[in-house]
């Protein structure tokens, strides 16, 4: 081993603290990048493979009843590859140990073996046998929520008849990757499940022998989906078809794609920034570390070591940091990725979902670290190696001295003056440390604000707009007076009717398939609110649209929209936009209920009601609801809210925790590095101060005072940057399904500052011990 190698090893040992600190920051940056982008890669890969293997439908249509004989004509539509007719229905489930009513979707499976499209993957147990009408395969998430095993029994109210069923298998389908009750936006596996049953059994239950009420089809390559959908609509119109829709409007797919879009936004907005920050800190730390060795580089050159040998030596130092970062980053990235993927497995039911980042993702993350390290080492070595050795071997002259204004200087004690002078003397260095701290604060805000936004969404949606306890859906259109019966249910304190109609809205070239909900004109249970959460009056005329819908159709108040009902008499009518209601989720339109009924010409009808319950009498109410034949579904606000919070906590919680943790790591890494390097640069000054009679506390004050000042200055800057970052994320988040409001609560600013202060204080305590232990004699004796 040569002397140069020994020097390398000893230096590495000396700077192990900094190597670890920078390695940690770099490792976090790499890990989060691999995790976020890798999770996205994995989710997309799992979706594409699964859709392909299970022949997921591309166009879907629901109708009332069509003879099976229509199927060949549908298959013959040009551009259609395969069709599958089915019977699909909504059912109420009576579950042991669940007080509130649960909803289910029954889907028929052809008697002759597996379906052509939307193949059901059996995970446990076996497939249905023909001629066993009571057999059922249930969806996996639902089965797990209730610990159902093949062989267990359950009862379903199918078309008004309670049927005992036996579970023979547990399955998955591409239609229900994200199994969710159409009424809510988040999964509640206890209260919603999918049941696959034999076609014959369901035909009997729904009186659909030789007929079907649901259709899905796949397209030939190059087919135009819009033309196919129009043709399907034309053929199904006589059979009360509710309008064909593509995957874009298929709930599971839409939600899955929404999540993927969100991940895309997140992985574009946050991890690359982290990687960039980590690379930036590596650069700053590595260059400073090398510049400290200026005199030694000068000596090596003076003794005849070439630039290559010197660059190699320092490259090895930086390589150690990069290596630590890479190992931590790879290990951490895979570990985090596995953890997140395990959570996604709870929400997204694929037969296989494994964390497998693309090679390119890993290469980008590692390449970024390696290239930055390389550049840092070369830049720093060249800066010194370019000097004549005679100059490099002398201590670097302090940067051109700028005098501080006398009025400031005169007011300070001597240590205070030293603090300020040092900051002033190295403006770039101070600025970089300041920037590092500010980035840490910004990172915490950009991560934490998600919770503030969600609280705002909850507040608006669950407390200001929805004030009911339950939403009851009727199994069909019912006359208005049914509401009076609902009002007589035990524990019903107030009831308001509504009617929801599937429609196609068109404004110029823009078309959106959604629902128009008719609300009671003077209703108080379900209200529309403006951005300030003030209730908006429901106008007699015209349509109220949600913010998302207004965006999607590019309309404002006063514009005209063509409403085409997709059910009943399928009326097409122009209406005017009367107002825009603040809504973060969904793209619904609203109208006064009498007006809607008049528009559609169906008479005084409703298909659901909002109900305010008396919590005391809830069990009684549930028991009655489970038995009411006209009730197709019950959605509970409290349950929805709970599931919303739970989902958020699980799906975002871990990620955000790591993002916030990264903020703390950045703060610590920046503080530790700048302090450690400062200490090696200035240990002579500090020792001299001690020798001249300054106390330990005064010396620490001189040194740590700099850090503290920078930290305090970084907080407002970080707040500003954090707000900007949050704004960028919120704007990037607008997708088909929801927006997130840009809300940053004061507490978030507070936490961001607290995390920075805590990290810097921890670092200060460590450095303080080092200053206290400064070996005065040794420091003053050697010239570094």
């Amino acid at each position: 081993m040569t002397a140069l190698h020994r020097k390398l090893l000893r230096t590495l040992w000396q700077i192990r603290g900094q190597t670890l600190a920078i390695g940690l920051v770099l490792g976090c940056g790499i890990a989060i990048y691999i995790m976020a982008v890798g999770t996205l890669n994995s989710l997309v890969a799992a979706r594409d493979t699964y859709y392909d293997q299970s022949r997921f439908g591309e166009v879907f249509a629901h109708l009332k009843r069509a003879p099976e004989a229509l199927l060949p004509r549908l298959t013959a539509i040009s551009g259609v590859k395969a069709t599958e007719s089915r019977i699909v229905g909504d059912v109420l489930l009576d579950l042991p140990g669940v007080a509130e009513p649960a909803r289910g979707k029954v889907v028929s499976v052809p008697a002759s073996g597996a379906p052509l499209l939307n193949a059901v993957t059996i995970r446990e147990g076996r497939n249905l046998r023909p001629d066993h009408p009571d057999e059922v395969v249930v969806s996996e998430a639902f089965a797990q929520a209730h610990r159902f095993q093949p062989g267990d029994h359950l009862a379903a109210d199918i078309n008004g008849h309670l049927r005992p069923l036996i579970i023979v298998g547990i399955g998955l389908s591409p239609e229900y990757v994200y199994a969710i009750d159409p009424g809510s936006l988040l999964p509640d596996n206890r209260r919603f499940g999918v049941l696959w049953m034999g076609r014959k059994a369901l035909a009997g239950a729904y009186d659909l022998d030789g007929a079907f009420n649901d259709l899905c089809l796949t397209l030939a390559p190059g087919a135009d989906i819009a033309t196919v959908m129009d043709e399907v609509d034309r053929l199904l119109a006589p059979y009360a078809g509710v309008g064909a829709y593509g995957r874009r409007d298929q709930l599971s797919h839409a939600l899955l794609s929404g999540e993927i879009d969100q991940l895309k936004v997140l992985s574009r907005m946050v991890p690359p920034a982290f990687l960039g920050i980590a690379a930036f800190l590596l650069y700053v730390a590595a260059t400073r570390l090398i510049e400290i060795e200026r005199e030694q580089i000068g000596l090596l050159k003076a003794c005849g070591y070439g630039d290559g040998a010197i660059a190699g030596h320092y490259l090895a130092l930086v390589a150690a940091m990069v290596a630590v970062g890479t190992i931590l980053g790879l290990g951490g990235g895979y570990w985090l990725g596995e953890a997140i993927t395990a959570i996604y497995r709870q929400f997204y039911r694929f037969p296989f979902l494994v964390f497998r980042p693309e090679a390119a993702t890993v290469a980008v993350a590692l390449g970024c670290a390696v290239v930055t390290g390389l550049i840092a080492a070369i830049v720093a070595v060249r800066r010194t190696a370019g000097l004549p050795p005679a100059v490099a071997m002398q201590p670097a002259p302090p940067a051109a001295y700028r005098a501080l204004p006398a009025c400031i200087i005169n007011r300070l004690t001597e240590p205070g003056r030293i603090v300020l002078r040092n900051l002033w003397r190295w403006p770039l260095r101070s600025a970089l440390t300041l920037l590092g701290f500010a980035l840490a604060v910004a990172d915490v805000i950009a991560s934490l604000f998600a919770y503030d936004s969600i609280e705002r969404m909850i507040d608006l949606d669950f407390f200001h707009a929805q004030r009911q306890g339950l939403i009851i859906t009727f199994s069909d259109l019912r006359p208005w007076h049914v509401v009076d019966e609902v009002a007589r249910l035990p524990g019903a304190k107030a009831v308001e009717p509504f009617r929801s109609v599937a429609v196609r809205l068109a404004a110029g070239p823009r078309i959106v398939r959604t629902n128009v909900t008719g609300l009671a004109p003077e209703g108080t249970l379900r209200r529309l609110v403006d951005p300030k959460m003030k209730p908006m009056a429901m106008p007699d005329q015209g349509l109220m649209v949600s913010t998302r819908l207004a965006d999607a159709l590019a309309v404002t108040v006063g514009d005209q929209i063509i409403v085409q009902a997709l059910e009943g008499r399928r009326m097409t009518r122009p209406v005017t936009v009367a107002g825009i209601a603040e809504e973060y989720m969904g793209k619904t339109a609203y109208m006064s209920l009498p007006r809607l009924n008049r528009l559609l010409g169906d008479g005084e009808v409703v298909n659901g009601a909002y109900l305010l319950d008396d919590p005391q009498r809830l069990p009684e109410l549930y028991a009655r609801l489970k038995k009411a034949p006209i009730i197709a579904g019950v959605a509970l606000k409290a349950a929805a809210l709970q599931s919303f919070r739970q989902t958020i906590a699980q799906s975002m919680g871990i990620m955000l925790t790591f993002y916030i943790g990264f903020g703390a790591v950045i703060a610590f890494g920046v503080a530790y590095n700048s302090a450690r390097i400062g200490l090696s640069e200035r240990s002579r000054d500090l020792a001299s101060l001690r020798v001249l009679g300054f106390s330990r506390i005064e010396v620490s004050y001189v040194f740590l005072g700099e850090l503290t000042l920078l930290m305090l200055a970084a907080i407002p800057l970080g707040w500003l940057m954090g707000y900007g970052w949050a704004w960028a994320i919120a704007s990037g988040f607008k997708n088909d399904l929801f927006t997130i409001p840009l809300v940053v609560a004061p507490a978030t600013y507070g936490w961001a500052a607290v995390i920075l202060i805590a990290a810097v204080t921890l670092c200060g305590l460590i450095i303080r011990r080092k200053i206290d232990r400064l070996d005065l004699v040794a420091v003053l004796k050697t010239r570094e």
């Binding site: 040569t2 002397a3 140069l4 020994r6 020097k7 000893r10 230096t11 000396q14 005199e295 030694q296 000068g298 000596l299 090596l300 050159k301 003076a302 003794c303 005849g304 070591y305 070439g306 630039d307 004549p388 050795p389 005679a390 100059v391 071997m393 051109a400 040794a778 004796k781 050697t782 010239r783 570094e784």
Partner: protein
């Protein structure tokens, strides 16, 4: 003069050397036109007041710095024309340097500091041998911070001698030493000069040391004020101060 002095024996030839340091608006003229020849195998003492430009000259001769104007020839090469890589090779292959401020690497032991230089030299002596020559064999595993100032200076001398250079340039090699240790160090330098024929330049403030050289160059205010030839060299061991 010890040996015949002719053009063929000339190792260094400096002509019209100037060096100006510009610090802010202040110009410091460290060298103001130096003409000097150094001949193979001779031992030259360089004397002069503080700040007169001695170190600056030595740095330029040793290829550590470049003059502002003028020419320095080393044998057939014009040092001012060499590029950075060639200057580095020149230092590695020909020059042994004792720096005024020692410039030891703090993370290396005495022996390793010597090895750092001898490892890349064409014909070095073992580091321990060099350390023995300056009386520091037992301290070879000590780090600079564990050595006294004078001991560090002796390590710096050992480092220069260990590569058995053709040219030995010593900037105040005894500045921090008492007379007894100083003589040990000077004897080691003298031995290198005598036994290997190393051309040696020693800067000193101590006029008593001048007696050990072939020639004494006096420096004043950036110029050579006077060159004297000693009729006979006094061995280092006999010097007293």
């Amino acid at each position: 003069m010890r040996s015949s002095v002719g053009d063929g024996n000339r190792v260094f030839a400096a002509r019209g050397l100037t060096k100006v340091y510009a610090t802010g608006s202040v110009l410091v003229e460290a060298l103001r036109g130096v003409d000097l020849d150094l001949f193979a195998g001779e031992l030259v003492l360089l004397l002069g007041p503080s700040g007169s430009g001695k170190s600056t000259l030595l740095n330029i001769l040793g290829g550590l710095d470049r003059p502002t104007a003028g020419e320095v020839r080393f044998r057939d090469h014009d040092l001012t024309q060499l590029d950075d890589a060639a200057l580095t090779a020149f230092r590695r292959d020909h020059i042994g340097f004792v720096f005024q401020f020692y410039n030891l690497i703090p993370s290396l032991t005495a022996e390793e500091n010597v090895a750092l230089v001898s490892e890349i030299a064409p014909r070095p002596m073992p580091p321990t041998e060099a350390l023995a020559l300056v009386g520091l064999a037992e301290r070879r595993h000590h780090f600079p911070s564990q050595l006294s100032g004078g001991e560090q200076q002796r390590v710096a001398v050992a480092r220069a001698i260990a590569k058995r250079p053709e040219i030995l340039l010593c900037d105040e090699p005894t500045g921090a030493l008492d007379s007894r240790t100083g003589i040990v160090v000077l004897a080691a330098i003298e031995a290198a000069n005598r036994e290997l024929g190393t051309t040696t330049v020693v800067i000193t403030h101590n006029a008593a040391i001048a007696a050990m050289g072939d020639r004494v160059v006096r420096f004043h205010d950036g110029r050579v004020a006077d060159v004297a030839t000693n009729p006979s060299r006094r061995p280092a061991a006999e010097l007293i101060w």
